[in-house]
């Protein structure tokens, strides 16, 4: 899947979660627990890789959301990566600021970074999203060209 189509899918997921409001968290929590149990096959295996629960809050006037999503690229083994876009497993979690996806990654020690804070780690996706809001100073995330 291309980055753009993936992004559209994720945008859809965000809207879906927003639409079902209070009904969603229980289902997402259950999915998160399953994902955590199944996520032990990572070769790096450090830290607690249980996917965090979803969140949805307004921070300094910006809506920030995070939620587990299906992991990309399951079954990918080893070095086929001649395209930078096809070689990685996503973190199985998506973060949005005002509905726009914030590209996030998870580190081997289970901490998080985003495209906005790429050289500094955060313990939770919520802390990461708040740091992005602080850094954005009201600016809107844009898709990469």
């Amino acid at each position: 899947m291309s980055d753009i189509s993936r992004r559209r899918v994720l945008r859809g997921a965000a809207i879906a979660v927003a639409g079902v409001a209070m009904a969603a968290p229980a289902a997402i929590a259950a999915q998160s627990a399953v994902a955590g149990a199944g996520g032990s096959g990572h070769p790096t295996g450090h830290g607690d890789h249980t996917r965090p629960e979803a969140f949805d809050e307004v921070y300094r006037g910006r809506r920030i959301q995070g939620m587990p999503i299906p992991v990309e690229g399951r079954g990918h083994t080893g070095r086929t990566g001649h395209s930078p876009h096809m070689a990685h497993e996503g973190p199985g979690y998506a973060v949005f600021v005002d509905g726009e996806e914030l590209h996030v990654m998870r580190n081997a020690d289970s901490s998080w970074i985003s495209v906005v804070n790429h050289y500094e780690t955060f313990r939770t996706p919520r802390a990461l999203a708040r740091a992005a809001v602080d850094e954005l100073q009201g600016a809107v995330l844009v898709p990469m060209a």
């Binding site: 001649h82 990685h88 081997a108 600016a139 995330l141």
Partner: protein, 275 residues
Amino acid sequence: MAVRKNQATLTSTEKRAFVNALLALKRSGRYDSFVTTHNEFITSDSDNGDRVGHRSPSFLPWHRRFLIQFEEALQSVDSSVTLPYWDWTDDRTAASSMWAPDFLGGTGRSLDGQVITGPFAASSGNWPINVRVDGRSFLRRSLGGGGRPLPTRAEVDSVLAMPTYDTAPWNSASDGFRNHLEGWRGVNLHNRVHVWIGGQMGTGVSPNDPVFWLHHCFIDKLWADWQRRHPDSGYLPTGGTPNVVDLHDTMRPWNDVSPQDMLDHTAHYTYDTAA
């Protein structure tokens, strides 16, 4: 042979030549292609998948090749130009001459982080941020804004003393010289400097700030300094490692250069001093 110099020793003529070459690459669009390439790698290099430019052993040879390519682009504009390096253990404040209006310009204003002095200020009209992660098209900095000071010489020496280049699992959790220099573990050298500068330097599109090249030139020099101190320690791993660039594997995006090919920088340039 091209000599890369400490930026603190550049003459005003040398500073002007470097800045003018940067502005010429920006005008032609070539500059932004480097920003795009860097962002593609940094957002796809992952701890449990393919990793080439970051959080992996090839962090150092990948950036060495990337800097050589950029230096060649500068030299196509002005053959006298080489990349300067910024020794941030020495020039450690926003009052350094590096941040003066005749070179890189200073920190951003408090209102919105916008750099307002020097040749890369938005008001100059010469430095639009085109490859970006948010709507802001001006260069931003917040020198020292994160609160943590730049690394000290003692911290650098503690990392240069590490005898092993890199260790399994060959990612951000590794022990060894490379990961302590990159900064995911321990005293944190390279990553911390990105954060100290702030603005675009803290993001995936960090090469938008020309200081990126001076910072990475110093990281490159520290690798050369480490090699000199540990002549019996080589690049690791040497073969058969999933998702990781082994000594003789080629690196994307060039696909014709391996870490082995990058071990001896003196084939391409030298540094003015060796530690």
